[in-house]
């Protein structure tokens, strides 16, 4: 696990690797070799633009990309709302390759633009690609999601999903009817939203680090 200040450039992955990027914009191309797995967790509270490309170059290469973000522009003036932009890509360039690209985040008084692309090349048989973007909007926020698929091989599994939701009033009402304050009910709902994303992160140290930050932030949010 490493935490970098500014991340950029091209990185070759030849063995199973876990990377963690926190609060910094990134512009990286990972090239993943045969039978190697890249697990990349990106946690962002900053406005700005990140671009992460994963080339599944070797046979049997795998990538798991977890993007978790929290964009809070409360207090910022109209017109200066923070904007978060993420461009994530997986290119399946060999057979039996696997990709999971996810982006889960909350936008409060800000904007998010999540672009995703999974490309399966003609020679990438038996590949499996999946991308998913979930955005939760609180107060004033806008979320744009562009999850693209380009598939050139028929012997593959590939799908994507995208949701934009708000805090469910009915759930909040239910929790309040059981004696919780509105603030506590909202906290539970937000934690629940992030828990789904965090549970998918297999590295425990990273999981705990992000959960710690989110817990603190939620206090300010609700």
């Amino acid at each position: 696990m490493e935490k970098a200040e500014i991340i950029g450039g091209e990185i070759a992955i030849t063995e199973n690797t876990v990377h963690y990027i926190e609060d910094t914009a990134a512009d990286i191309t990972f090239t993943i070799g045969a039978h190697a797995t890249l697990t990349l967790v990106v946690f962002s509270r900053n406005a700005g633009k990140s671009s992460i490309r994963c080339i599944l170059q070797g046979e049997g290469s795998r990538v798991e990309l977890h993007n978790i973000y929290l964009i809070n522009g409360t207090g910022s003036a109209e017109g200066t709302r923070p904007a978060y932009e993420l461009d994530m890509q997986a290119v399946h360039a060999n057979r039996n390759t696997y990709s999971r690209l996810t982006a889960n985040g909350i936008v409060i008084n800000g904007r998010s633009l999540i672009k995703g692309l999974i490309k399966i090349n003609e020679n990438a048989e038996d590949s499996d690609g999946y991308e998913k973007s979930n955005a939760l909007i609180i107060k004033d926020g806008t979320a744009v999601s562009v999850p693209n698929l380009k598939i050139h091989n028929n012997n593959v599994k590939c799908s994507h999903g995208s949701t934009v939701t708000r805090l469910d009033e009915e759930k909040l009402f239910y929790l309040q009817s059981r004696g919780l304050s509105r603030k506590d009910a909202s906290t539970i709902a937000i934690k629940g939203f992030y828990a789904q994303a965090l549970n998918a992160v297999s590295d425990e140290k990273i999981r705990t680090a992000i959960a710690g930050i989110i817990d603190k932030e939620i206090e300010v949010l609700t």
Partner: protein, 462 residues
């Protein structure tokens, strides 16, 4: 009814009564307008659109249009038939044969309330059963409607729904449009049987630019079906039609179309609906033919509680590029939309879903769900999904899902172990895949759609 590709690709030897030389100019447009004896305001509208057309750029996204030469297209063409013969007997034998083979009079006799068939640029046959005429329903050739219902046309024709400056081909359409259908359903009237028109291009290198304008007044409802095909020539043809639908308060409209243009047609069509308070708009689309299709039916949900359903299927075979999708604009609170799209690509065909869902700020409690499934037959083919989802309001629920896959060996093996041939098994799986869309079509169209797909599939096992 026998259906084969040849049947649709067949070209009749018809002498043109009035044909303007190829290419586009102010003179051509004045000639079209003069031939139609149009009022001055329509001519002005055309000329204005021509200026917009000249100023607009070609689309710089999606399939390549570099082989489409807009100067070699013939923009107007009238077959030698009495305009709007209202009895089938008056229609010339050859044209009648074409329509007979496509099953139109048969369909009309049995199920449909009225059928308009567009042969090249004019409607040669148009009929509306007496009973709905009495209810005040207008089902008319667009050219006739300009003369007979100028107030409605002036108010709605490319003013509210599709404006000529929407894009280059909308401007082109507005400049050279000819024929098409006008439907007006008065307040509270429910047209029980579907109305239908069949469009067909016959002349070589012909552009077809029919305009469909449908107005469903408050509390009324209607179902309109369009089927389109063109014979095969070696030069490229262009179809740049336009469909405008206005669904007023509490009204309901269903628009179904199966487009089966020949493989060298560029189908660059514009379809748009505006839906007022509590109105419901349903689009059912099938795209089978054409070399290049760029078609994105759009719904603008203007009124509170308005609803749009889009269901579509695209089939891209060898040499075909089906670039289709749905656009939904949520512009008012409590609006809902669902988009269901299925695509099949085989033999090097490219099918792409290119869609847009936009939820404007203030469209509180809006709901939207988009679902795309793609089936790929082989490695030469391509399947793409480009959905854009733009949510500017926090009180919304938006879900998008897409899946791309192939026919599983296990499914095939199972069906073949039950005694089906490989071909039958494939067809059964494909029929199951498209079933949710086919079941929304009236019977005759469902049968036609299934047969056409079957036909495309037969070639796949060559």
């Amino acid at each position: 009814m026998e259906i084969s590709r040849e049947l649709f690709d067949h070209s009749d030897s018809i002498s043109a009564k009035f044909k303007i030389p190829q290419g586009l100019s102010e003179e051509v447009i004045r000639k079209i307008s003069a031939y139609k004896k149009e009022p001055e305001w329509m001519l002005q509208k055309r000329l204005e659109a021509l200026k917009i057309f000249a100023a607009k750029e070609m689309p710089n996204w999606g399939p390549s249009l570099k082989d489409l030469d807009l100067n070699s297209i013939s923009y107007f063409h009238i077959p030698d038939a009495a305009h709007n013969a209202n009895a089938w007997e008056k229609v010339p034998e050859e044209i009648k044969n074409t329509f007979e083979r496509l099953g139109i009079p048969e369909a009309e006799r049995t199920a449909l309330a009225g059928a308009g068939a567009q042969y090249d640029s004019q409607v040669v046959y148009h009929n509306l059963q007496e009973e709905i005429k009495k209810q005040g329903v207008i089902f008319e050739d667009m050219d006739v409607a300009v003369q007979e219902h100028p107030d409605l046309i002036k108010e709605y024709f490319m003013t509210k729904c599709v404006k000529p400056d929407l894009h280059k081909f909308a401007a082109l359409h507005s400049a050279v449009w000819s024929g098409g259908t006008f439907i007006y359903v008065p307040k509270g009237v429910h047209v029980e049987k579907p109305l239908q028109a069949y469009f067909r291009m016959n002349a070589q290198s012909l552009g077809q630019f029919e305009h469909t304008l449908i107005i469903i007044d408050e509390d009324a409802s209607c179902h309109y079906i369009e089927g389109c095909s063109a014979p095969r020539y070696s030069t490229n043809s262009l179809h740049a039609g336009c469909v405008e639908i206005i669904v007023h308060k509490n009204a309901r409209m269903r628009y179904s179309s199966i487009e089966n243009w020949s493989k060298n047609t560029y189908n660059l069509n514009t379809k748009r609906a505006i839906v007022e308070e509590n109105g419901i708009m349903e689009w059912v689309s099938g795209n089978l033919g054409s070399g290049v299709t760029m078609l994105y039916p759009a719904s603008a949900l203007l009124g509170r509680g308005a609803k749009a359903d889009h269901i579509g299927i695209a089939f891209a075979g060898p040499g075909q590029n089906q670039d289709t999708g749905s656009k939904v604009y949520h512009l008012a609170p409590h609006t809902t939309s669902t988009v269901k799209s299925k695509s099949i690509s085989r033999g090097g065909g490219i099918s792409s879903y290119r869609g847009l869902v936009k939820i404007k700020e203030g469209a509180k409690n809006s709901k939207c769900s988009v679902n795309c499934d793609a089936l790929m037959f082989d490695n030469e083919s391509e399947s793409n999904t480009y959905p854009t989802i733009d949510v500017q309001e926090k009180d919304v629920d938006m879900v998008h899902e897409a899946k791309v896959g192939k026919i599983s060996e296990a499914q095939l093996f199972y069906l073949m172990s039950r005694g089906l041939s490989e071909e039958e098994a494939l067809q059964m799986i494909v029929n199951g895949f498209i079933e949710p869309i086919v079941k929304e079509l009236p019977l005759e169209y469902a049968v036609e759609m299934n047969r056409l797909i079957q036909l495309e599939m037969e070639k796949s096992l060559g």
